[in-house]
Amino acid sequence: MINIIQTTIGAILTLSIFSFLYKDNPLYRIAEHLLIGISVGYIIGQQYHMGFMNYVITPIFKEGQLIYLIPSFIGLMYLGFFSQKTSWLIRFPIAISLGIGAGYGIPYTFQASIFIQLRETLTVFSEPGITGFGIFSGVLFLLGVFTAIVYFFFSWKHRGVVGIVAKVGIYFLMIGFGASFGLTVMGRISLLIGRFLFLFKDWLHIIS
């Protein structure tokens, strides 16, 4: 019985959101506000139980691990934001978060997103047993990378040879954007299919 009530509420809210496709209306607004309100409430609940309780209350007050007082105190400094006199306190947790984040992030991000990508781009022909199609793909790949980089090179005016190469780069970029757009269409239709499957299968049980 509870399942039926749950899916019926979900179905009514889905239809309320769909009603916006006809025109804006109060049902749509109720559903939209409910979505935002419930999402925020759920997130606060999750953060409280899984974050505050698990990493502050339980270790400090139940397990006596006083070391957790230090990060808790640093985190509390964020509350200084609410008064002009103490707002300077938030610089400390922000500085610590940024420092640790950058320290950890920069070397590995460079490694993963630049060095490894660059290495694999430059060694595109080194694959063992590469076929004719592989060589063609490699040439196309290098041409795409080179011309797209030239397009984003603004120190020289895009005239003459540079202009032609940049123009080729634009075509490669356009093909990339086209692929992204095609995938976006597929993604959006998937969401629509998901909602229809929910309405006709999970709610009304009229499709198997």
Partner: protein
Amino acid sequence: MKFTWHKFFTLLTNIDRRWIYLLMAVVVVLPLFFSFSVKVKPAKTVNMLYDFIENLEPGNTILIGFDYSPDSLAELNPMGKAVVYHAFKRGIRVMGIALAWPSAAGLGLDVIQSQAFKINLEIMDEKLKELDALDEIVKYKADKEITDEEVHFRIVKLAMGIFERNQSDLDLFPELMEILRATGAADEFEPFKADMILSGVDYTYFGYKPGYVSIMLGMGKDMVETLTTDYRGSPLIRYEMFNSNTNKIKNYEDVSLVVDLAAGGSVGAWVVYVNTKFGRPVAAGVTAVMAADYYPFIQSGQLIGLLNGMRGAADYETLNMRHFPDTARPGKGLGGMASQTWAHLMILIFIILGNVGYFVTKKGGEA
């Protein structure tokens, strides 16, 4: 009134967009009703992930990141279910965690538990049919006005509750539990225990853990120390997966693969911190909108597989059906492929009509 292409296309370009919405709804809905089947040829990147999991040894462990919210459920839930089903069928242990979105906490749990439950139903199938004939069960079904399917669900839930020592599961159906105990049927479940998929033994779901990168890095050192509890708040150290003398999980060294199901930038973080720093293989299942961004990571070997939106889920379901023809069934990925095909055809027609209309109306206007 004389027909001209100019008038026709002028009419089309001025059509109320709501007719197009309606047409799209019809095109998407009709294939769902008429069960049009579409043959799917799994993509290379999906085969790569499937083969990787296929080549793992039973007892190995995969970690799945549920980094999406309910708005991406249609694309990512089916692929999660397909991957978890495959892993469980191969005897591979599964861990699940939600790091990026608090709202993913319940989604990940549903994906893992539903597949564990599905496989346990398969394992106990013969026994359940046998129990259907029991007088007490027949009477229970009649009293409660429930189907065979529903009573099977309840029995498996209770069997899992017995083995997982989960009192809240046992309290769900007290009358049925009493029948199973009184008739001795509960004692006959024991031989199934070794094969069944059980929480803490074959899978653990950590739920949402705030901290994101710090949790990702902490898991590389010590999972029990970093995560401390599962989604229910039970200490991880109590579970066989984390305290076994022979095959316990301590950190990424004991994880054979990380699969991130993502609707945001979390794949990048798993690649940067888990693949680059800890050297563990990472695969991704992403929404179609972001898929194009991740193909370079396949080419560089930083991702060992990629599932692309609902199509990726359909591909994986197809592979499951090939490998487990007796038990694997089409999921919502394959279920949506016919609608997807027809909707794409309609959009292609609209793009052609729109462009032809643009030139025809422009030419007519200039004349």
